[in-house]
Every structure is written in C-alpha cells, then in structure tokens.
C-alpha cells in the first residue's frame, strides 16, 4: 500500500493509489478551506448545489441516469469539519472495467470527467446559480440544520463541542446557520464559489486498478487546467496550549427516554509524537471492549449499554459517550471520573497496554483493505503535514511505554460535562 503524489500546481495535488485488490475504482475530490462564521453556511450550500447539475449535465436527473448507466456508479458529496477546516467532499465509486459484463467499456474516463465537471463546471445562468435549484437547496439545508436534534446521541456530542468551543471555529456547525440563508442569492453565492475554488486546498484521489494514464486524464482535463495556483487558505493543526478551567456543567432537557451523557476532555499536548500515545490512552480509557469504561460502567455496574470514548486528534480532545437511566446521572458521572482518575494514578497493567496495542495495530494493518479508509488516511496526512508509512506507524505504537501513557493521563482534564435528559 502506497500512494503516488504529484503536486500538479501549487496547492493542487493528485494522489494515485494503484491496487488490483478491489472490484471498484474510487475517485474522490476534497476541497479544504478554513472554517469561518462568515462562510460556513455558504460552503454547506455549495456542496448541496453542485450536485444539482453542471454545464454538461444540467440536472440531478441527468447525473443520476449517467451514474446508473455506469453500472450504478455511486456519486455523493458532503461536507465535513476536519479540525478548523471545512471540507467539501465529492466521491464517485464505480465497478472496475474488469468486472463489467461487456468488455471494451472504459468507465474510468467517464467517471473522472463527470466528477470534475460537477465540482468545477457548475450550472450557471447569467453569472448566477440557478434560482430554482438554490431555493430548493436552501430548504434542504434548513432541514439539515434543524435535523441536528433528530439523532439524540449525535446531538449531545455536537452540543458538547459547541460548549467547549464557544465563539471558536471548531464550535461552528458544519451545515451552518439558518439566519444566514436570507442573505444568500444566486449571484453572491456564485461570486463566493469562484473565490472558494481559487483559494481552497485541492486534493484529488484515485484508488483502484488505475494506470499512469489516469493521472494524465486528470492533468489534461479542461476543468483542472483552468484552475489557478494558490496558497491554500486552510488551517494545519497545531498543539495549542489548553487552559485548564473549572468544569463547565451543562444540562439540557428534551423528550428523551434515555439520558445521554457526554464528557469533553482536553488533552494538553506539547508535540506530535504524543498524539500516538493519546491514541493508545484512549483505547485503554474507552476505545475498546477491554477499556476501563466498558468494563466498569457497562459490565460491572451495568449502568449503560454504550460507554465509550473517542479521540479527535486534530483538536486533541476526547469525548466520553454514554446512554444511561436519567436517575443514574450522579452515579455514572462519578464512576466515569473514577476511571479518568485511575488512569492518572497509573492503575493499568503492562498486559492492558499490550492488549490494546494489538487492537490498534490490527486496525492500522487493515487501512489498505478498504478504499475509502485508505484515501482518508492519506488525506489526514495531507492535513497534518505528518507523513508516516503504515509500517512506521505500527512501530511507533509497538514502542509506546507505560510512562508515555501515564504522562498523557496527567495531561487530561475535564472541560465540559453535558447531559441531555427529560
């Protein structure tokens, strides 16, 4: 597993991941831009609008028909928040030509052209996005923003993030804000789109049974040719100093059966190497079935079905996540705090460390078994600026010692305790 990267213009990279392991080819395009309160809603709206049609495929219906003709190529675009960036993601996955019933079909070329067309050659009338599409997508976006509360567990994590990052970029909601929609029209959004395309970081990934010619297909594409050089307007993560403050306790009421408890932890790191230690720390705390949270909150105290934690390496934070009986709030919270404290006291064995290392390493080894996982792995390296081969990655994990994890445990502090209840 390896990638072949070429910076075709300043700020624009093509990544080729050549492998014959899969029956599908995956073509992905990521546009990365610093997330700001001013532009967050516009970016989200653009990602929805571009799916509606391009200059050569005028409507969603046309795009869908084309994808169906390509043996059900799946086309999708979405918006993500990665660290302090907003990422517009475009994907087409299609059956590789070796598995088509009719030989001599060249689907790869069509797929590359279609996706680049959708992203860089939108359907524009009089220097403006089509009003009809814009109105519909405003409705669609409004619905997505309001839909934030529909999945209560995700909502609780989202709310905890907002509390931890009040008035900061990472506290912004990736789909933006309803009050922005009125100010947006087809003309000013198209103006902004042009600015976005000229200033964002562009990464193009092609994974599958693809030859050198595929790279040329991308480079020679008219839409790509017309892109300008740029110094990307995006943020590379740093290990920002975290201020340890008193715990922020937030309780919110909603019509729920089960209480959702989310605890946001700050991890105060001083270098990038510590990110690997934190990965293992998280695995011990709540990242696996052998973790302290799973064992003590679920298996021993039987307070929860879900009791886990996850590490966001771009921001050096950990979320502890649990669904509990509302009356058990105090009990569960104290028990969770006890687990964080026990980690600080070093109450974990060499065996615990070794067991958790195996799980983490196994996950690293399978990165190359899934196309989208591999693409995201390399994209993550792009954004962090840290390039590590899978083998080196495994070695680093293998060499982590108890004191490294203990050091991390003592860099952890509770930032916010969020509880959603009825």
């Amino acid at each position: 597993m390896e990638q072949n990267v070429k910076e075709i213009k300043k700020g624009i990279k093509v990544h080729i991941l050549n492998t014959d392991k899969f029956k599908t080819n995956l073509f992905a395009l990521f546009l990365t831009k610093k997330i700001t309160r001013e532009d967050v809603t516009k970016n989200a709206l653009i990602s929805l609008l571009l799916r509606r049609g391009s200059k050569t495929m005028n409507s969603q219906e046309e795009i869908s028909k084309k994808m169906e003709e390509l043996y059900g190529a799946s086309f999708d675009c979405g918006i993500d928040k990665t660290g302090d960036n907003q990422v517009l993601k475009f994907y087409i996955e299609s059956i590789n030509d070796n598995y088509l019933p009719n030989v001599n079909e060249n689907t790869l070329k069509t797929i590359i052209e279609s996706l680049l067309d959708i992203a860089f050659n939108p359907y524009i009338e009089n220097e403006s996005f089509k009003e009809e599409y814009l109105e519909q997508e405003k409705n669609n976006l409004k619905r997505k923003i309001e839909g934030k509360k529909d999945n209560k567990a995700k909502y609780a994590i989202e709310r905890c993030t907002e509390e931890m990052y009040k008035d900061k970029p990472f506290g912004l909601y990736k789909f933006g804000y309803i009050e922005d929609l009125d100010k947006i029209d087809g003309k000013n959004l198209y103006e902004y789109y042009k600015e976005l395309i000229n200033t964002c970081k562009i990464d193009i990934f092609l994974s599958g049974n693809v030859s050198k010619e595929a790279e040329k297909l991308i480079e020679d594409n008219e839409n790509v040719k017309s892109l300008k050089e740029r110094t990307p307007d995006c943020v590379f993560p740093t290990n920002e100093e975290k201020e340890v403050k008193e715990e922020n306790i937030v309780t919110e009421k909603m019509d729920v059966t089960q209480g959702k408890l989310v605890i946001g932890l700050d991890v105060n790191l001083s270098n990038d190497e510590q990110k690997y230690f934190t990965l293992l720390y998280n695995s011990l705390l709540g990242g696996s079935a052998n973790s302290k949270l799973f064992q003590n909150v679920r298996e021993k105290a039987n307070l929860a079905y879900v009791a886990s934690s996850s590490y966001l390496r771009y921001k050096n934070i950990i979320f502890i996540n649990s669904g509990i009986e509302i009356s058990n709030y105090e009990k569960a919270l104290n028990l969770i705090k006890e687990q964080i404290e026990d980690m600080k006291q070093g109450k974990f064995t060499e065996e615990d460390i070794e067991d958790n290392k195996k799980g983490v390493i196994s996950a690293i080894k399978t990165i190359g078994d899934e196309q989208d996982t591999e693409v995201i792995y390399y994209f993550g390296q792009e954004l962090t600026g840290v390039s590590v081969s899978v083998n080196d990655y495994i070695k680093i994990i293998e060499n982590i010692k108890k004191e490294d994890i203990l050091d991390i445990a003592n860099r952890v502090s509770i930032n916010t305790i969020y509880f959603l209840r009825n």
Binding site: A73, K144, D150, N290, L303, K357, K365
Partner: protein
Amino acid sequence: MQVIENLKVKEKLYIEKLQNGLTVMIIPKKDIQKKYMIWGTNYGSNDNKFIVPGEQDVTEVPNGVAHFLEHKMFEQENGTNSLDVLTALGVNANAYTTNDHTAYLFECTDNFYEAMDELMDYVQHPYFTDENVEKEKGIIGQEISMYDDYPDWRVYLNTLEAMYHNNPIKIDITGTKETISKIDKEILYKCYKTFYHPSNMVMVISGDFEPEKLLEEVKKRLITNKPSGEIKRIYPEEPDSIVKKEVVQNLEVSIPMYTIGIKDVENNNKEDKSFIVKKDIGIDILLNLILGRSSSLYQELYKDSIIFGEQSLSYEFGKGYAHILISGISSNPKEVFTKFKETVTKLKEEGINELDFERIKKMCYGNYVREYDDVQNVSRMFLADYFRGICSFDYLENIETINIEYLNQLLKDVFKEDKMVLSIVENK
C-alpha cells in the same frame, strides 16, 4: 469440499456440510490483510414457539430470548468473558441478533487461530447463572431505552405492526423491559440446547486461506459429532390482509419520518429457490424505477421540497412474512404516499419503459458486484442468504433472466393498494 465458482465476480465459494450437520462456507480472498469469521445459528427473535427435538409438548418463551442469549454467550465458567479474551488478542469481536438468526463474529489481521479457538469454545460452552442473567437485564434495559430514542427504529416497528396481525416479525428483537424480566437461566439453557446444535448452524470464513486446511482446523474444534433431530417451529396463522392503513407516533423530531409498507405473501414455502431470488431482484428494479434517484416521482417530490434525498428501498422476507419497505424523511409523508400510489397505478397501466429498465438493471448488477470487495460484507451476505435458502451468487446469475414482462406481472402481483400501509413519526 464442493467448489462453486462465479466468473462474473471472479470468486469461489467452498462449501461443505459436516457429519454433525454444520455447514461451513469459505470464500478465499488473496492479498487481503483482514480475516473474518462468523458463526450463525438459524434462531432469531421470531422463534418463540417450538417443539424441542425428541419432546412432544410445545415450548413457548418470552420475547427477546434469542437476543438475551446472544449477550450471555460470552460469559465463561472460569470467570472470564470471551469478548475480553478476543479483544485482548487484538481482534475485533462482536455478535448480533436478527429476526431469523443470531451470529457471533470477529475480524482480525493476526492471531486468527487463537481467536477461532476462543470463538468456537464459547459458542459451544454456555454458562448461565442466576446472578449473571440478572445483571444483564440492566444492560439490555439501556439498549432498549436507546432504541426508544431512535425515531427511525420506531417508524420501522410501527410499520410492521400495521401490516401483521400475528407473525412475530412485528416484535422488537430485544423484547421489552417487561418480557426480559421473565427470562431466567433455565429458559436460556433450553433455547441454547434446541437451537445451538451444529445442524442448525452455519459458519462462514473469508480471508487469505487454503480452504481445505482451514476446514480441518474447524473440524478439530467441534465437540459434537452427531446430527440432531428436526426442530419444529410454530408460527401463528397470518391473514393476507393488513391490520391498519396508517399509524402515527409523536416524538421530538425536526421533520416527519415515514415508512410505506407493502405486505406480500410468503415466499419461503416455495420449492424453487430461484423464484425468490428473481422476485427479490425484480422488486429491487421496480422500486428503483418508481422512486429511485432518476425516477420522475423522485424528481417531482424533490423539486417541491417534499423529500430531500435518497429514500431507502428494500424487500424483506423470511418464514411466514414478506414485505416491501420504503422509508425516508419528508415534509409531507401523506403526499409521498398518495403520489406513490398514483405512480404505481400509472405504471401498471402504461407498462415499464424499455430504456429505464435496461439502465436500472445495469445499476443493480453493479450493486451486486460491489458486495464482494469486503470480507465482512461477503461473509455476512452468504450467511444471511443461506438462512433464507439462497446462495448469494444466484443474484449475479439470475439478473440476466429478468425481462419486462416478468416485471409488469410482478408489479401487478405485489404492489397492491389494499396491502399498503403508512407509518409516520412526527412532532406533537
């Protein structure tokens, strides 16, 4: 071992039925790091009434036993928990329960045989005590509460309740807090002994393996050699009619969620298995013609901001039940339902368009091919299909035989208005 090769996806299935009745399927995958093993029993939440082989009387158990059993299988007599042991090996282990089967599985890169030791050991050695059964009620109780907060799960279950009078498909897989309170270790042991015999089970393994050698490793770890008698499962008589046309539940959601259900007649009593596969593919194509991303109905509803994205389209079937489900979020579910019915009527009158048909067929073909890339997908698909009497390769083989005449007939036979229900979850 019997070898079935499929040239379309260039994959081979090695299959063998052992002396004790266990079916083993192996799908080798070269150059993949991941190895996946899944061991399933043909026993799910629907199997609540049965006659134990060798007995005369009917046994009836509370709802939720199959799922409860799944949770409890990990506990071992020596005080260890197999989930912990597997996790400590660095493998990713799990289990799940559906309406018709329960499965235990792991995915790994290293320590495959050690993990296989543990998996095969714990599935063959139940250990239930009053105490460990009691404590699980707290954990499962929270799992039940979690599902109560999922509007998509509620809208699904309500659809089944609107369609089925008696069939147990309509019961929640987990049971309720009330039904699980009645579960004790005697019930668990009885169900275990009945349904966890190798002759009621299937094992699927996929990864970079030599199949014959792997089969020997499986055999070494099996403790029962004798086949067992037949389990008689008793399902209640189910009328063809639906229960009610519409069901609405109030939950705090930003926009209504809906499911349209179309009750169908049972397929699993058919001798000819290609009948089911053809029908499943046919319905897949029909649903995409009616409400897929390129359909006129989809475009119309999207333009009017009634729907906002792809709707989920599926056909579920098993012992004593079969139905179509169409779900999504919508600003006006009733309008979706009305327009859907109108479109079906029109399509019945006008017949299916040749070009649309060919295009959607290509799409479905591609979707079937895609299933074969991941060891987990492949293994789970072969397992689930096996319990429905199907070899997964048959989808690739049968799709070519489908023509417009068949689809026009299928549309008339299955998409009947008096069999349609609408379930909605919306704000108060």
